[in-house]
């Protein structure tokens, strides 16, 4: 038996929840739930965008707002974890939407240009697996940075330098990949060394030329 999403969404929010703007608190809550791996669902009420429900066990979410219209400055009027059990029915009718898509866009936007609160200074990062880029809205700087993290340990500043992007852009990507749980962190990983690239070598990048040719 599944829970009717309309029924779940119709439940009224407790009045004591402090209204927040943006996704910081939501990202923190999700990060904690994922880290604890405890059986809970998550429900958020978002002004003008309705209820957003997350079923972690099925790695799925349900929301009437398409991710193409993700409201960066959403006003959250309620956020709660809903205890469940490993054999409980899904939170909503499956399949829902792949949670990774939500975590990607939330991670890119939840902390502005700053670091996610669970990250520490002096860490280097490495990719555990590639995100499913054909399903996530992304740009070519993201692709380049992900390719760096797939082949080298890098701090945020090093990532920005290796990929030739601004540090805030690198930080946003680190936040997103970390929230998705596909980034390892280490304060002891040695710095990577990139082969010296002359200006001519940079011009010879097939990626750069093909990207331009394809208008990306």
């Amino acid at each position: 038996m599944t829970i009717d999403i309309d029924q779940v969404a119709a439940k009224s929010a407790p009045p004591e929840f402090p209204v927040t703007i943006g996704w910081t608190q939501a990202a923190m809550a999700i990060s904690s739930v994922l880290a604890l791996n405890t059986p809970v669902h998550l429900r958020m009420d978002i002004e003008m965008h309705g209820a957003l429900l997350i079923d972690f066990r099925h790695h799925a979410f349900s929301w009437s707002t398409p991710l193409e219209y993700f409201p960066v400055d959403a006003v959250h009027t309620h956020l709660e974890t809903v205890p469940t059990s490993p054999d409980a029915p899904p939170y909503f009718e499956l399949p829902g939407q792949d949670l990774d898509g939500l975590l990607w866009v939330m991670g890119l936007n939840a902390f502005g240009d700053g670091a996610a609160f669970w990250l520490s200074p002096n860490e280097r990062y490495r990719l555990i697996r590639w995100p499913n880029l054909t399903r996530h809205s992304h740009n070519m700087s993201h692709v380049k940075m992900i390719a760096v993290l797939g082949n080298a340990n890098a701090s945020t500043a090093e990532l920005a330098a290796f990929a030739g992007v601004e540090e805030p852009e690198a930080q946003r990507l680190i936040n997103a990949l970390s929230l998705m749980g596909i980034l390892s962190r280490s304060s002891e990983a040695p710095a990577a060394t990139m082969a010296p690239q002359t200006a001519a070598a940079k011009r010879q990048s097939l990626f750069g030329r093909l990207r331009k040719r394809l208008g990306r």
Partner: protein, 189 residues
């Protein structure tokens, strides 16, 4: 003229020809014959030699896209083409009887190409019939090839935008692998 050869490999019915058609700027050269193995994959025709398309980059450079036949009896074509290739898009249809087995088989066959270039795996038809989750493909790769970090994406080969994303991710990864000294050799152009 500078040339970069990209292979499209994978089992019969994975969408290799369609993927090349989505990317190519020229009319794709197709070498199809009646499919004599309809008991395995229910399609009327299949590639028997190769498919060919290309993307021109300026007047002096092109990316050559070769689709190779999926059946193992044509593996002499695999040997010829992989020597010239810079990288490979490995397409596996999610609704195949054993898609994870197909992926690991082709990766083993083309491991040398991964070592000196790069590979991206594209899982097709995942919207048609439920198959293994994407994480299961990644987990299988990690089990069979520990330490390799191969991008795995779901993809619709009919969608040019998605195929361009796959191709650009492949090229970006190959270039970063070279930049960080991860390639065995750099034989291909």
């Amino acid at each position: 003229m500078a040339e970069h050869v990209i292979l499209f490999a994978g089992p019969m019915g994975a969408g290799k020809t369609t993927a090349i058609e989505s990317l190519s700027e020229i009319e794709v050269v197709r070498t199809e014959a009646n499919n004599s193995e309809r008991h395995i994959v229910d399609k009327a025709t299949t590639t028997v030699a190769l498919d060919y398309g290309e993307i021109l980059i300026g007047a002096q450079e092109k990316v050559r896209l070769y689709g190779i036949p999926g059946q193992q009896r044509f593996d002499f074509m695999w040997t010829i083409l992989k020597k010239r290739a810079k990288g490979m898009v490995l397409l596996v249809n999610s609704d195949a009887p054993d898609p994870i087995g197909e992926m690991t088989f082709f990766l083993e066959e083309f491991r040398e190409l991964y070592d000196r270039g790069g590979v991206v795996v594209g899982i097709t038809r995942s919207d048609v019939m439920p198959g293994p989750a994407l994480a299961e493909f990644s987990d299988a790769l990690e089990r069979t090839n520990p330490g390799l970090l191969i991008p795995v994406f779901t993809v619709d080969p009919r969608e040019a935008d998605q195929m361009q994303n796959v191709l650009l991710a492949l090229i970006a990864n190959i270039e970063m692998r070279a930049a960080f000294g991860m390639l065995a050799t750099t034989g291909a152009s």
